[in-house]
């Protein structure tokens, strides 16, 4: 299942990472190299084996549905690339 440059372009779009046209082919080679190497997993018989969901045998913990945090607007905004009047400022998304 070797990846071609179109597939790499599609993955880059899904991952929201810009890749220059010229870098697509070398990146495809790198990814194919890694994917080729992991294909050895096909040798393992996993019929009837459940996929791992938790390494430690534990029951999912539930907590009371209570507010324990909040009221920290300025802390939330403290590292924003751009903020104004208590809001995040983001690029315009509606024409």
């Amino acid at each position: 299942m070797a990846l071609d440059t179109d597939t790499v372009k599609r993955i880059a779009r899904l991952a929201r990472i810009h890749v220059d046209e010229a870098d697509l082919a070398p990146l495809a080679d790198e990814l194919n190299n890694i994917l080729g190497w992991v294909e050895q997993l096909e040798e393992v018989d996993t019929d009837g084996v459940e996929p791992m969901t938790s390494v430690v045998e534990m029951v999912q913990r539930l907590r009371a549905d209570e507010v324990t945090d909040g009221g920290v607007r300025d802390k939330v905004l403290a590292n924003a690339p751009e903020s104004d009047d208590g809001f995040f400022v983001v690029p315009k998304v509606i024409e």
Partner: protein
Amino acid sequence: MAKLTDLTIAEAGVGLAAGDFTARELTDAYLLEMEASRGLNAYFEETPERAREMAEASDARRGRGEASGPLDGIPLAIKDLFCTEGVLSTSSSRILEGFRPTYESTVTQQLWDAGAVLLGKTSMDEFAMGSANITSCYGPVINPWKASGGDAAGKDMVPGGSSGGSAAAVAARIAAGATGTDTGGSIRQPGAFCGVVGLKPTYGRCSRWGIIAFASSLDQAGPITRTVRDAAIMLGGMAGYDPKDSTSVDLPVPDFTTALTGDIRGLRVGVPAEYRMDGTPAEIEALWQQGVDWLCEAGAEIVNISLPHTKYALPAYYIVAPAEASSNLARYDGMRYGLRVEGEDLTDTYERTREAGFGAEVKRRIMIGTYVLSAGYYDAYYLKAQRVRTRISEDFKSAFENCDVILTPTTPSTAFALGEKQDDPIAMYLNDIFTVPASMAGLPAISVPAGLSADGLPLGLHLIGPAFGEEAVLRAADMIERAAGFDARP
């Protein structure tokens, strides 16, 4: 008297309690050494003012007779992956440039509550992805050890990774101990490369809250120290249930130092056939045998075991970890914190921000992760890898029916020169071949310095225990440490 910075955490604790020196004096001694060792690039951010304040507060507590335990007044380095309030926490990535959290990770908060002193933040492989500490946005960290002979003689060596800055700092005596995190070997492999102890606890033992996420089902915090006893002391400060991490486990935290009895008579030590791999240097095989002999002479029973799926752990890891990373790192979108690079529109802004903010290895893993989770490939790659992971876990479960701990080498080589292996991702991944299986099964494991290579570089032995079996792991590691008498210094 020995230099203050040569004291172990345990020794420094005794000196502080006896009033031989103050926490302020101990901290000042470290701050001075840190300045002299800046060439190693282990710290990217030193926090001398905060360190002195914390040390003085510790001395004041002690003066009132309120010293809180063995970590009170002990100066520590903190890996960049831990969020520390008001102090740069960047995962050594451009995308988090300038990020100063407004909150404190649970593990570091527990250490400060126990009286420990923050010396500074240590550099790491970007987002903990790497085994040589060469992908940090702050530049490579240099291992304080140098090869005395061979091709690498005189060259700068890598400290291992991803917790390379922490391991280098502990080895260079510019921190009494350090926090690390281990996803596939990131505490143990740099521990081995720098000749220090690195302990990865059982998954769930330490809270992950406030630790910048890489692969959530594998990430676990642990100590990097100069002795096994120090690792036991630090783990006691770091471990514990945290309501803010639903995967942290609600078990009592024992005094781990009581496990160091020096008596391993009857302990069953498993030696897995599958860890004898082609291409492992003879000196590493020999050290492994030496470790078996040491434990045997101390009264342990040696058991030959089989972990049949060992060779599949690494390829399975390179599906599971990138898959989780691609999800975790989706949060870096340039909107709420970190870097933003303006583009033509919103999507272009996301894409330009992530292109500029992430390094090559991080992008590679996000791409792999995105692909193996994408429609049509999820079953073939991700579910298959998680099934193989179940197999690996079953291997360990059946092995632990016949043994109490497992002994292996930590790494298939010593530290290598800066610049080697950096063009071939898979060659770099193979550094973790002995450490990844325990990670995939969530098991506790430790690397203990046990000898030097022919070229004068440290080598580690690796002990793996069953889930929550830290005490058996520490007891056996303590015995290796006693037998090896490793007192070489960089």
